[in-house]
């Protein structure tokens, strides 16, 4: 089994721009977004990290720069070790990363999901459409500036929207989000409840809070 440090050393000898990343579990590396395909190809073919576990992205906040980082998790099924590869996107408004769907076919849907929910465009992706929200949905819901309740948007089918007068309206939060009490044995008290029940849709949130 290759020790985690060896993976990092081997990658860094090939790609000097790669740096180690603080981590609590598995070895983790920062990669310039331009080197991502080369590094992942190296990890797959030379380091036998043959299994792509996950492709996702992180929004570090509206104020942060760089705002978006794309994350790849790789697993070696022969050496039984993981590695996490992180690349910060150059643009904070139109984040872009290279596709790796030609390296792992399974990356196709992961990249579509990341594009759908966080708005990271994967260059070279064969079919970069939304996968969870409907085509034409104007927002990226997992971005930090998107409220959990949602933003008022027409239904995917305009004809049905006109007929029913329904829209994808913000969900009533009623003082939520709702939190369950851990370790509560009384079933009634254990029900998830809002931490702040002083406001709802009918009575506005007090300004003093």
């Amino acid at each position: 089994m290759t020790a985690p440090a060896d993976v990092f050393a081997a990658v860094q000898s090939q790609f000097p721009a790669v740096t180690a990343r603080p981590t609590l579990d598995h070895p983790s590396i920062n990669v310039p977004v331009g080197d991502v395909v080369a590094v992942l190809t190296h990890l797959r073919d030379v380091q036998s990290m043959d299994f792509l576990v996950d492709v996702t992205a992180v929004d570090w906040g509206v104020e942060a720069t760089p705002r978006f980082s794309v994350v790849w998790h790789l697993l070696s099924t022969t050496k039984n070790n993981y590695v996490r590869v992180v690349a910060a996107c150059g643009s904070d408004t139109e984040p872009v990363a290279p596709t790796i769907s030609h390296l792992w076919a399974g990356a196709n849907w992961h990249e579509r999901e990341t594009f759908d929910l966080l708005g990271v465009r994967f260059e070279g992706h064969p079919d970069l459409r939304r996968i969870l929200m409907w085509d034409g949905y104007p927002h990226h819901p997992l971005r930090k500036d998107f409220p959990l309740a949602g933003i008022d948007t027409p239904l995917p089918d305009l004809e049905v929207g006109e007929l029913t007068k329904a829209t994808a309206a913000p969900a009533p939060m009623m003082g939520g989000p709702f939190v369950a009490s851990v370790g509560e044995m009384n079933m009634t008290d254990a029900e998830p409840s809002a931490k702040d029940e002083s406001w709802s849709e009918r009575s506005n949130k007090p300004a003093t809070l």
């Binding site: 969870l132 819901p141 409220p147 959990l148 239904l155 089918d157 969900a171």
Partner: protein, 172 residues
Amino acid sequence: MVSPNTELAYNSKIEGDLVVTRADAVINWIRANSMWPMPMGLACCAIELMASAASRFDIARFGAEVFRFSPRQSDVMIVSGTVTYKMAPHVRRIYDQMAEPKWVIAMGACASSGGMYRSYATLQGVDRIVPVDVYISGCPPRPEALLDALMKLQAKVQRSPGTTKELLSASA
């Protein structure tokens, strides 16, 4: 116990092969006892819906065992599960395709109110896009609750007034 009248039941020899009633009562009775469901199974409630149809709970006892996967042949749409905004227009389209008379049961918390999904992706109650006749609480409701809802819907259909009048004015 001795009773002078031993013929409590309908006697065709005396009364002839004839039963007198109202058209409304007959039509409502027929409708209520052959409600064919349109299973709109969208999430875990659909598992309980399937259990209701199986032998242990046996929805056939109420004349509703014929689950039709064609809206053209069904009378009551059982919305069992979370309705996402992406799915909502399809639910409405299928409802529109059902022939009159038609009813809707909102099964479980999600279909009734969005349930625990207070989020950007979930329709907060199927009554925003289709008229609902009976709501069932529970997450998911037990099959008995669905049977109870069906019985409530049957009672509602049986007491609905002016059925014949509606039919005549619709055909005129």
